[in-house]
């Protein structure tokens, strides 16, 4: 016997009322979304916990530390020279610049940073500027690729490849260069290196122009990044931003100009600044910085004492056996040099007690080393002030109110490296 079931057939008005009820329940209900740690736009291992209202971010909490290796602890347990390879792994997109920054910090502690031979200063400036171009190219390529412009990534990597070749020619390594030493550099430039560098500069500007035609006036690109995540001047200073992120907000502050080191006072270059402080301004600042870096490189190639093959035998290293390793042939034949070599290798250089802070204008911002020395060959405490760490701390401030898809653009425009952030 069949039973009759009541089937509730509601009219459309009732259905609409129920749907509206359900919608009302879900409105105001926020969703928590976990972005990272292995998300392609986080360029490494950044995790951000996003609280969402629909598609709009209402809260963001960055969670860092996935790449923490305890570099500061390690530094306390080895001589100053032994720490140089660890600096390669801070901002691993610009190892040459990190090498220069670290060497200058220790030299400031020793009080010799102003007494470096001119040729050494020029070599270091060229290293830092090549690293800047390389890091900005990657930052730009990844930024554009996250926005869907894959061509930019391929073009920028073609140019980076040439910089790797240059790094390989001077240091023997493409990535982990460890090129500087305390008081100098590992070795002088190879004879043809300046020509190679000149060739790179000549080819790079047309390539950069081509890159610019893809993005700078591209309607899609401009619509995506303009007026997005505007950082005011006050916020940029208050949150301690540095590098292109600070200058993008319209503050003319560059350590190369404001606290000059090496031979930067002898070189002509401009500091680009943004006018609004949005993602587009940060992009434009990086583009212009690459051009200025090429300008610096070209001046260095002309001005470097000794020229390409160093026929005049300009010194490249600080000539003090108690700080810099003596030449090998002398170690093998002279007693004093042998002793210096032995002491430098086993105990390190004898640094005075005291404390110094040195900030270097790295591609990502101000990379600073605070060294607290109690004398001897090892630091008592070394704090690494990494630009990416500080630049990321503004995320909880600028993320709320933007769309999920915009977070990817903002991360790209902040241009951070987790190896340096987590140390």
């Amino acid at each position: 016997m069949a039973t009759v079931q009541d089937i509730e057939i509601r009219d459309s008005a009732a259905r609409a009322a129920q749907a509206a009820d359900e919608l009302e329940d879900s409105v105001g209900e926020k969703m928590v979304l976990n972005m990272g740690p292995s998300h392609p736009a986080t360029h490494g291992v950044l995790r951000i916990v996003l609280e969402l209202d629909g598609e709009i971010v209402t809260q963001a909490d960055p969670d860092i530390g996935y790449l923490h290796r305890g570099d500061e602890k390690i530094a306390e347990n080895m001589t100053y020279t032994q720490f140089i390879p660890y600096t390669d792994r801070l901002d691993y997109l610009a190892p040459l610049a990190n090498n220069v920054a670290y060497a200058l910090a220790v030299e400031k502690l020793l009080g010799i940073e102003k007494a470096l031979p001119p040729r050494c200063q020029y070599i270091r400036v060229m290293c830092a500027e090549l690293a800047r171009i390389s890091a900005h190219l990657l930052g730009l390529g990844a930024f554009a690729m996250d926005m869907g412009a894959v061509t930019v990534f391929l073009l920028s990597f073609t140019e980076r490849e040439k910089i790797y070749n240059l790094a390989e020619a001077i240091s023997g390594a493409r990535f982990t260069t460890s090129y500087t030493r305390i008081g100098g550099v590992m070795r002088d430039l190879p004879p043809t290196w300046l020509d190679q560098c000149q060739k790179f500069c000549d080819e790079f500007i047309p390539a950069l122009n081509e890159l610019e035609t893809l993005l700078t006036r591209n309607r899609i690109w401009v619509d995506r990044v303009r007026n997005l995540a505007v950082i005011s001047k006050e916020d940029a200073i208050n949150y301690g931003l540095s590098g292109p992120n600070l200058r993008g907000s319209g503050i003319e502050w560059d350590l190369r100009k404001n606290q000059p080191y090496l031979c930067y006072p002898d070189l002509e270059f401009d500091i680009p600044t943004g006018s609004v402080g949005d993602c587009y301004d940060r992009y434009l600042v990086r583009m212009e910085e690459m051009r200025q870096s090429v300008r610096i490189l070209l001046q260095c190639i002309k001005k470097i004492p000794g020229g390409a093959d160093n026929k005049t035998k300009e010194p490249v290293n600080f000539a003090d056996g108690k700080i810099f390793l003596p030449p090998k042939e002398k170690v093998m034949s002279k007693m004093e040099e042998l002793i210096h070599q032995f002491i430098l290798v086993t105990q390190g250089m004898n640094c005075p007690p005291g404390e110094v802070y040195f900030g270097h204008e790295n591609p990502k911002g101000e990379l600073g080393f605070y060294i607290n020395s109690r004398g001897g060959g090892t630091p008592y405490r070394m704090k690494i002030r990494s630009p990416s760490f500080v630049n990321l701390s503004i995320i909880p401030k600028i993320f709320p109110g933007c769309l999920i898809s915009d977070t990817v653009a903002i991360l790209g425009s902040l241009d951070f490296v987790m190896g340096e952030c987590d140390r």
């Binding site: 923490h68 602890k73 400031k108 301690g240 105990q347 600073g368 605070y370 109690r374």
Partner: protein, 192 residues
């Protein structure tokens, strides 16, 4: 105006709380005698002297000395370009001082890092959680009595807590020794 004049201004304002300025390699360091007053001193430095940019906050563990902790603030002015370093001591029993996040927002993460690495607390901090290590990690790894090889932690299911096989790597030296024999652990063991 040279940085020494700023130091003198701070000193005339706050009197004996602030030590005589010490200069080393062109950098001025001032010692603040009372860690509890660091906020008003920083406030004054920012508002009246124009030190609008906090470069860095770091900490030093003076293990074996009293007071054990030193907190180091690097102040900079983007207006006139001068820099100043403030230092203040905190005892191990107290291990707490007021936060300067009310003066500079950037202090937030720096202070979280100090709490995470050294275990010094900042009263009034809006969000004092661990930042580099994971929540619930039982030690403070940058303290001098924390071994380089690490310590096993009792947390279940957390990786990377066993001592490294080479006790930190092949080039490890111990700081503070007078000569290579004291500094180099392998030398010590081979000679007994």
């Amino acid at each position: 105006m040279p940085p020494l004049e700023f130091a003198q201004k701070l000193k005339t304002k706050f009197g004996p709380v602030i030590s005589e300025p010490a200069e080393f390699r062109g950098e001025i360091t001032l010692k603040v005698g009372d860690a509890g007053r660091i906020v008003e001193i920083c406030e004054f430095a920012k508002k009246e002297l124009g030190f609008d940019y906090l470069v860095d906050v770091s900490s030093v563990d003076n293990y074996g000395d009293d007071p054990r902790w030193t907190i180091v603030y690097h102040l900079r002015s983007l207006k006139h370009g001068n820099e100043l370093r403030l230092k203040t001591d905190v005892s191990e029993e107290k291990s707490e001082l007021p936060t300067v996040t009310t003066v500079w927002k950037t202090a937030n993460w720096h202070e979280r890092e100090i709490y995470d690495m050294m275990g010094i607390r900042f009263s009034g901090h809006p969000d004092l959680r661990r930042i580099l290590m994971w929540e619930g990690y039982p030690y403070f790894p940058l303290r001098k009595d924390f071994p380089l090889a690490g310590k096993p932690s009792e947390l279940p299911g957390v990786a990377f807590t066993k001592p490294a096989p080479l006790e930190g790597g092949p080039f490890v030296t111990a700081p503070g020794g007078k000569d290579a024999i004291e500094r180099e652990p392998r030398v010590r063991t081979s000679e007994g």
